[in-house]
Every structure is written in C-alpha cells, then in structure tokens.
Subunit: 188 residues, 2 copies
Amino acid sequence: VGANSVGSSKEAPDARLEAELRRTIRDVPDFPKPGILFKDITPVLLDPALTARVVQAMAAPFAGAGITHVMAIESRGFIFGGPVALALGAGFVPVRKFGKLPHKRVSETYALEYGTDCLEVHADALNDASRVLVVDDVLATGGTAAATCRLGERLGARIEGVSVLLDLSFLSWKQTLGGRRAHSLVSF
Amino acid sequence: VGANSVGSSKEAPDARLEAELRRTIRDVPDFPKPGILFKDITPVLLDPALTARVVQAMAAPFAGAGITHVMAIESRGFIFGGPVALALGAGFVPVRKFGKLPHKRVSETYALEYGTDCLEVHADALNDASRVLVVDDVLATGGTAAATCRLGERLGARIEGVSVLLDLSFLSWKQTLGGRRAHSLVSF
C-alpha cells in the first residue's frame, strides 16, 4: 500500500517515504494507558531531511487547491501546520483547547470515549472566501479533525481536505469525516 | 530600538519587520485575567509572507552557530519551532507538559506566580554532541525558557540561545535566563 487517500482524486503513492516512516515511527506500548500501542512520531522530527520530505508530501496533494488557510490542531498539529502553511503560502489558523485563544471565538464540542472536549478558533480568522486545509499529526477516531472542519464551516470557509502524517486505519476516522477528502502518508 | 539581543554578538536590527510586527500584533485587554494586556500574535500568523519573514529572522542570528536541534516549547512554540528547525536544517525536539511524551523522559519543575509547572523532554532526544536553539513565541518571565534550557543541559546539550517573536521587556526574563543569549524581533 502507498499513501492513503480518500476522496475524489488519486495521489501517487510515495512508497519510499512511507517505508522510511514505518522504520522511523516508534511503537510505545501501554501509552497513554495499558493496552494502547502508541505511535511515537518524535523520531521523525529528529531527522530534518525526513521532516522536510514529510512537510512537502503533506502539502503537495493540496498545492493546486487554492488553499488560503491551514487550520492546525493543538498541540502536535502545530508542528506540521506551520511548515505546511508556509509551503502552501497560506495563513496559519490555530485551533486550540477551550479558553486558550484570547480574542472573540467560536467553539465546537465533540464526544470523546468518555465525556466531551471543546475546540475553539478565532471568529475573524476565516470567512466565506477561505479555502482550508486541516493539518494534524494523526487521524485516529477523527473526532478532533471533524470538529475542526465544522468550526471552519461555521465561519463560512470551504474545507478542501485534511492532511496528516499517519492514520490508524482500524479506527473510525473515515466514517467520522464523512465524504471529506483526507490524505495520510502512512497507515497502521 | 531594533531587534532586541542579549549576549556576545550584535544582530543588525530589522526595523521594517519590527514596525510591521508592532502594527500587526493585537492587544487583548483583560486576558487571561483582569488587568493583563495580552499580546495576540495570531494576526501575524494569518499573513504568510510576514510569517515567512519572522521565521527567517528568528533563525538567521543562529545560522552560523552549528545548531543541531531546536527545542520548541508547547504549544505556541511549536508553531515557530517547526519552520525554524527546517530553516536551520536542525532536528525538532518537542518540550511538552507533564505526561504528554510517550517515551523515557526527563522532567523539570519550575515556579509560576502561584504554584509550579512541569516540562518534559524525551531522554534520547539530545546528548553531549547537541547544540540547541530554544524557540518559543514570547519571552515574559523566562521561566519556561529557562526550564527548557536546563532540560537540554541535563542531557548534555549545549544551549546556544533562545529565539522568540516578541519579549515583554518589563518582565524578569533577562534575570531568569542569566547570561544566556536571547533574541527577540520586537519588545513591548
């Protein structure tokens, strides 16, 4: 399998990048709780040449989509969101946990395994002329990515897609994101 | 005044960039609590050309310092840390709040106005061959930046300096950082 893509267009898989990511991403058992095998991407970040390729590969499928803004999801999404926004010449819009953003904002509450969480974006960051790429490191349940898409849509923006480093294909993100276009460099 | 620099070398001030940042950074009164005037950098991030200049200006003073790693401080430091690391060809080392990093880590507790906080780094991210630039968005009390420097030093790394977008010159960061080199693009 190559790069994982859902939606209307096909991307050429970058099999070499995918193989290198599989070698580099580290399994951490029992984190954050017993029975969970955590995919630790920090070894990728230690390699600047690999990180540069990841950023290019996360941005490239959306280079022709007229992206005006990247919505990046706190906190690990910020790591890739900054460079992807610069690669696309797009503005960077931080999507943060409740209470962190200082100016007027809109909020979206979404379900977790137990309880709920809340994400926020500045109300004046996007409007109906905005074409948005959502960036995070990992797609798992898709709950935070879908909430981020809804935040953008509530401000009138058009969500062109979601771009991540890796996705957990056994989890429910495809259902949660519905028909939205999603792009991942490696699936586990 | 131009770019603010403390330490052994003088940087040429970029007065135009500084003026543009003063125009773009937004004051939010009474955030996060009454009486605090918050400097909101998110309008800078909405402008990709300005953000690209900020990243270059944050990296440039350290381009000849042989930086091997950028330690970026969660969460807003991640936004600039990613692009600055790529600009310097350096690895990216996330410094995170307690309990967020999955692998073996070292911790540093530091004082806040009320109580304490704790930052962590992966123990295998740095060693005595590492030359580190610490990146965050704002220098205020300097407490998180100093704790990050100590984390790096405990792993044997040499801290070459601290680079931020803005500093609050009326606060105590100069004392807190001691003789460490710090670079800021605009002071308030």
